[in-house]
C-alpha cells in the first residue's frame, strides 16, 4: 500500500528513498554530494509520546555520530535527538522548532530536523539501512515489537 508516495506498513508511512539508523529511528536523505537532511521516522515519533517541543544545536556545530544534535520533549520527558552521522550542521528546521506538530504531521517532508555536511560518509553511511527490502522488514518487525510491548496501539 502506498500513501503520498510512501509505502504504508501496518498503518505507518515509510519512505524508501533514504537511509535509516535502526537504533534511533532517524532517517538520512542524501541531498547534494556530501550533504544530508536528517529527520525522525513516524515510529520514533509515535513511541516518544505526544511530541511537545524540539530544539536544535546552532548551525555550525560539529556533530559526532551517536551524540545529540538537539532535544525532543514528549510527555514531560526531555531526551536527546541522536545524530546518526558525523559532520557540521548546515541548517536547522526552525518551522519544526516553532511547531513540533509539523514533524508529527509530515515526518518525511516539511518536518525534517537538520541538514549536515557529512564528515565521514564513506565510514558511516554503510552502517545505515539502505536496501528497501531490508528497511521494510526492519520497520515491520519494529511495529510488531512495539505492539507486542503495548508501546503503540494495536
Amino acid at each position: 500500500m502506498e500513501q503520498a508516495g510512501h509505502l504504508v506498513v501496518a498503518g505507518f508511512p515509510l519512505a524508501l528513498d533514504r537511509r535509516y539508523h535502526v537504533g534511533t529511528h532517524m532517517w538520512v536523505l542524501l541531498s547534494e554530494p556530501g550533504q544530508a537532511r536528517i529527520g525522525m521516522d513516524p515510529l520514533g515519533i509515535e513511541t516518544s509520546g505526544t511530541l511537545a517541543e524540539l530544539s536544535f544545536v546552532p548551525v555550525g556545530t560539529e556533530l559526532i555520530a551517536g551524540r545529540p544534535f538537539g532535544q525532543l520533549e514528549a510527555a514531560k520527558f526531555v531526551g536527546p535527538l541522536v545524530s546518526p552521522v558525523s559532520g557540521i550542521v548546515l541548517a536547522v528546521n526552525d518551522a519544526a522548532a516553532i511547531d513540533a506538530a509539523l514533524t508529527v504531521r509530515d515526518p518525511y517532508g516539511a518536518g525534517w530536523l537538520i541538514e549536515v555536511s557529512l564528515s565521514d560518509a564513506a565510514g558511516e553511511l554503510p552502517a545505515l539501512l539502505a536496501d528497501p527490502d531490508e528497511i521494510t522488514t526492519w520497520f515491520a518487525a519494529k511495529i510488531a515489537d512495539y505492539r507486542r510491548m503495548g508501546v503503540i496501539a494495536q
Binding site: A75, F77, V151
Partner: protein, 342 residues
C-alpha cells in the same frame, strides 16, 4: 547478587541545591555511578521551569516581590511552584537499562511510585498522559530527562499544596484566567498528606523490587560533587535561565492564546482578537467556564457566555455564529487556543 540501588536522602536543601544535587547524580550515573534514588525537600519556596518552556510564562515581578528564585531544570514540563510542603524524589538509571521507547521508559520509572503511594494508603493510579492520580485529581507532578547517558525522573509527594501561590507565580495578564486557573488547580491537583518517612521507605522498597536492585544507603561521588559546583554556577546564570535558543515565530503568524495546563486535558486560556477578549477553562475538550468582554454585544455577553458553557471547544465557532460581528471576533479569539501547544 543484585546490583545496588544507591539511596541518598539529601534532607532539606536550598532551592538551588534542591535542583543541582540530583542533576549532578545524572552526570554521575552517566559516568558509571550506580542507579540512584534520591530525596530532597526545598528549605525555602521557589519556582522551577521545564527545559524548553518560555521564561515569560513566569510572573517575575511577583516572584521578585515575594523572594522566590526561579531556576530552569533539565527535565520537561511547565513552570511549577515548590516549597517545603513537598518531598521530592528522583530516580536515575543508565539510559541503557531502560526501554528505548520513551513512553515505555516513563511507565517503567513511574509505576514503582504508584506502588509506593498505594502502600501508604493512597489509592493512586497511573492515568492519562502518565500522570499519577487519585480519581481525576493529580497527586504527583513529574518530569523526566536524559542527562548524557543517564535518565532521571523526578516527582513529588505533595503533603501540603499552596494552590494560590502555585497559580500566582504563573504569568497571566487576564484576571479571569487567573481565577479560572486557581479554581481548576483546587479541583484537579490534590495533596496526599501521608507520613513522609513511611512514603520514603515504601519508595525505596518499590523501586528496588521493580528494578531488581538492592537498596543501599550512599553518598555523592567526587565526580558528582564537582558537578554540583558546576551546576550551581550554571543554574544561577541568566543565560541558562533564558533557556535553549528558540526561533521567533514567522512574520505574519497570528496571535497565540496564553495557555496554562493544570493537568492532562485540563487547561485555561486567554486571548484577545480585534478587541474581543476571551478567558475560558477547558476540561477534556469541553468549555467549562467562559468570560467574554467586548464592545457592541449590547448586553448579550451573558447570553453568549451561557451558550458556550458546556460546549465542545471544537463547536464554539458554530455557537458564536449566532452573535453577529462580536460573535465572529470572539470566535477568532477562541481559534487562537490550541490544545496541541499545551
Amino acid at each position: 547478587m543484585a546490583e545496588p540501588l544507591r539511596v541518598i536522602d539529601f534532607g532539606c536543601a536550598s532551592p538551588l541545591r534542591s535542583q543541582t544535587l540530583w542533576h549532578a547524580i545524572g552526570y554521575g550515573v552517566s559516568a558509571g555511578a550506580p542507579a540512584t534514588l534520591s530525596f530532597t525537600r526545598p528549605a525555602a519556596p521557589y519556582v522551577c521551569i521545564g527545559y524548553h518552556r518560555g521564561i515569560e510564562e513566569v510572573d517575575h515581578d511577583y516572584c521578585r516581590a515575594n523572594g522566590l528564585p526561579v531556576f530552569r531544570r533539565m527535565v520537561g514540563g511547565g513552570p511549577v511552584y515548590l516549597d517545603a510542603g513537598q518531598l521530592f524524589f528522583q530516580v536515575c538509571l543508565p539510559a541503557r537499562a531502560l526501554p528505548a521507547a520513551r513512553w515505555q521508559a516513563l511507565s517503567v520509572l513511574l509505576e514503582p511510585a504508584v506502588t509506593a503511594f498505594r502502600v501508604v494508603g493512597v489509592p493512586a493510579d497511573l492515568a492519562d498522559e502518565l500522570e499519577i492520580c487519585v480519581g481525576d485529581r493529580k497527586i504527583c507532578g513529574h518530569g523526566a530527562g536524559q542527562i548524557e547517558d543517564a535518565v532521571v525522573l523526578c516527582g513529588n509527594l505533595i503533603e501540603r499544596f499552596d494552590h494560590e501561590r502555585a497559580s500566582r507565580v504563573l504569568a497571566m495578564a487576564d484576571p479571569d484566567q487567573r481565577d479560572q486557573t486557581l479554581a481548576l488547580m483546587r479541583r484537579f491537583v490534590a495533596a496526599t498528606p501521608v507520613d513522609p518517612v513511611l512514603f520514603q521507605a515504601s519508595m525505596i522498597s518499590a523501586y528496588a523490587e521493580a528494578l531488581g536492585l538492592a537498596a543501599v544507603p550512599g553518598e555523592l561521588t567526587g565526580t558528582e560533587r564537582s558537578a554540583v559546583a558546576e551546576l550551581d554556577e550554571r543554574f544561577a546564570s541568566a543565560g541558562w535561565l533564558l533557556g535553549p535558543d528558540r526561533p521567533a515565530p514567522a512574520a505574519g503568524a497570528g496571535p497565540c492564546a496564553r495557555q496554562v495546563k493544570v493537568r492532562a486535558g485540563v487547561w485555561t486560556f486567554a486571548a484577545t482578537c480585534d478587541g474581543a477578549k476571551v478567558a475560558a477553562s477547558v476540561v477534556r475538550g469541553t468549555v467549562e467556564q467562559v468570560r467574554l468582554r467586548a464592545g457592541g454585544l449590547n448586553g448579550s455577553t451573558l447570553g453568549a457566555e451561557r451558550a458556550l458553557t458546556g460546549v465542545p471547544l471544537r463547536s464554539v465557532a458554530q455557537v458564536l455564529a449566532g452573535f453577529g460581528d462580536p460573535g465572529r471576533r470572539f470566535a477568532a479569539a477562541f481559534a487562537t487556543a490550541d490544545p496541541g501547544r499545551l
